[in-house]
Subunit: 401 residues, 2 copies
Amino acid sequence: MNYIEVTYLLTSKKHIEPEKKAEELAISLSIGGWGDLPENKRKKLEKYKAKVTDVLPYKEGKKEKILMKIGFPVILFEHSVASLLSIIYGKLSFTEEIKIIDIDFHPSFLDHFQGPRYGIKGIRELLGIHHEPLLMTVIKPSVGLNTDEFAEEFFKHAVGEADLVKDDEIFFDDALAPFEKRIEACVKKAEEAEKITGRKTLYIPHLKGKVNQLIEKAKRGVEAGAKGFLVNVIPYGFDILQRLSEEVDAFFVAHPSFSGIIFKSEHIGIRSPILFGKLMRLMGADIVIYPSPYKKNIIGHTDAMEIAENLRKDWENINPSFPALIGNITALNIHKAFKDFGNQTIFVASGEIYNHPDGAKDGVEALRDALDCTLTGVTLEECAAASPSLEKALKVYKEHE
Amino acid sequence: MNYIEVTYLLTSKKHIEPEKKAEELAISLSIGGWGDLPENKRKKLEKYKAKVTDVLPYKEGKKEKILMKIGFPVILFEHSVASLLSIIYGKLSFTEEIKIIDIDFHPSFLDHFQGPRYGIKGIRELLGIHHEPLLMTVIKPSVGLNTDEFAEEFFKHAVGEADLVKDDEIFFDDALAPFEKRIEACVKKAEEAEKITGRKTLYIPHLKGKVNQLIEKAKRGVEAGAKGFLVNVIPYGFDILQRLSEEVDAFFVAHPSFSGIIFKSEHIGIRSPILFGKLMRLMGADIVIYPSPYKKNIIGHTDAMEIAENLRKDWENINPSFPALIGNITALNIHKAFKDFGNQTIFVASGEIYNHPDGAKDGVEALRDALDCTLTGVTLEECAAASPSLEKALKVYKEHE
């Protein structure tokens, strides 16, 4: 039989019998309970019953921990992450102190997922950049600008040589710069900028609205010239991203909005390498934004690396997704970020570029110059001597350090 | 100007300046940042900027806490909980140790929400029960039964005199008992049971599938005879419930699947009285299921009461929703639950009814008899003398105590 194997870590303050507990959970999460069915009818349910495959109890201080693996028959699930999480974590989320450590998907389950439509390769083709890491920036503020002002702001990022420029994920009131007009205006500005820089820049609007209308809205966005969209995956739920990716010929950028409640706790939720590295990719995110290890240690270095590995690695029929690191990505430390994460990465600069005394264009330019130096092996100091915007940027970031 | 006021509790291990921190968050969450806009253009943004209205720092052991209130201009939001949470908690979820303590909605925001279509009053009218609390039960297992077997199982609950009988929320593979056929079969069985009991029983199927097809699916369910549906709100996202409630003439039952990660932590997430009591109601849940205070103390007594109060209280144009308590609701303790939560409540018995030695029908019957006694002021013991199913049930539950 085909199983999805979930590794859980259960924490308990009082003693429980590990094997018994694991077996209880396996029944409760799969068939729900034997009900009042007579023995002869229970046999029919066996094929739906989850099976305990491993139980490892240990102690950590005063707490008892149980690492357990439970195999869920693939037939229990629809081919969606919403159904997956409803079963493997829906009620556990409140009944136990338990965290999902890993999920091992059976190929027969993966087979029903399309995965990222563009993936790393497809996005590189759109941009015509085949090896080096990409730079993504964020328009701040996104709110309160009319279409022309918005496009002007976008233009600064494009001539500063950002590869991808996205809306802020908190941008909802776009009455002054409506979706399709804004896309058209930015696409035009991208063409203008390309004549100056020789580089393409893609504008990524925030896809928001009523969830039952998002597919149609994205299609209108594509008509207007957008190649990709930003989605606040968790607020809008663990299903719509997959449907968008299946139905719309565009790439999708998964924002980590609201994700902290899922990965941050030591005792509950889902480990970040699984949430970002496996689930987002499975749902079809071409680009997965997540907190870099360079700020506040929200996600540690090891987990941040594991996310990137999970997103890129060979995984049946599912295209690799771009890891996109956000948080303290500056001209000063991009060389380190590049050394850690390599070429198949997107570096996302948000508020950082606006710390530049000469504004967004110089902020982006400084970051681009710093990355170019890193790629060619020139030191930041040498590089700054030839780039006034980088020189000024380094001063600012050194003061912030 | 019109504001939504959010009360946050921030926890910090190191000292931070309370007013400065609150102001930083207010800017970061509303306009995102001033960008590189010159002073004269910043003025235009003022109307989008969130305002700090209160800051109260205090110490708790070694930790510094800051209770802060931030007012968000209503214009920042779309009329959806997805947009609300994206702004007020999206990035905070991972950048800070911060919990939402309360949300105070401005009437001009509420005005755009339809709220529960049926609410307490509408559901009572469907059932013809105008005062007493309602009993809801769960079919376990839901999986692995064909349509006839499923309807037979439903019938046991109906003749046992449950008011509402729902699918298990982990029920996804319904190939053997397909959605519309299952609804038709259960509706027919409900009519049969009514001839015996003189009571109506409503069957509540689990609404699952592709999120972009759920509205159409629910409409087909209504055609087949369903009056209401169970939705795993959080896995399917903070928008679809509102759209279902707006578009489909049925009542909706919000399941707490996956909710633990949002309310359980002391330091992050959203307090349960806000998540269940305000947000679910705002999205249009007619019935909100949440963990009772009678099991494992998942939600404490005070919070469980506050949820119920928030769901029922007068709240502008928004209909009251039914609080529905799940977890250790048995014939043995329903008198206590009734004393605590009163008439405007739904008591949900799940696995509990299947602990009855004579099966589901007797399990439901025992619960119904216990509730009837409670309502008429007869002691459980007296009542048990006249109800063999209750007598047996009490023995079982007392052993489990």
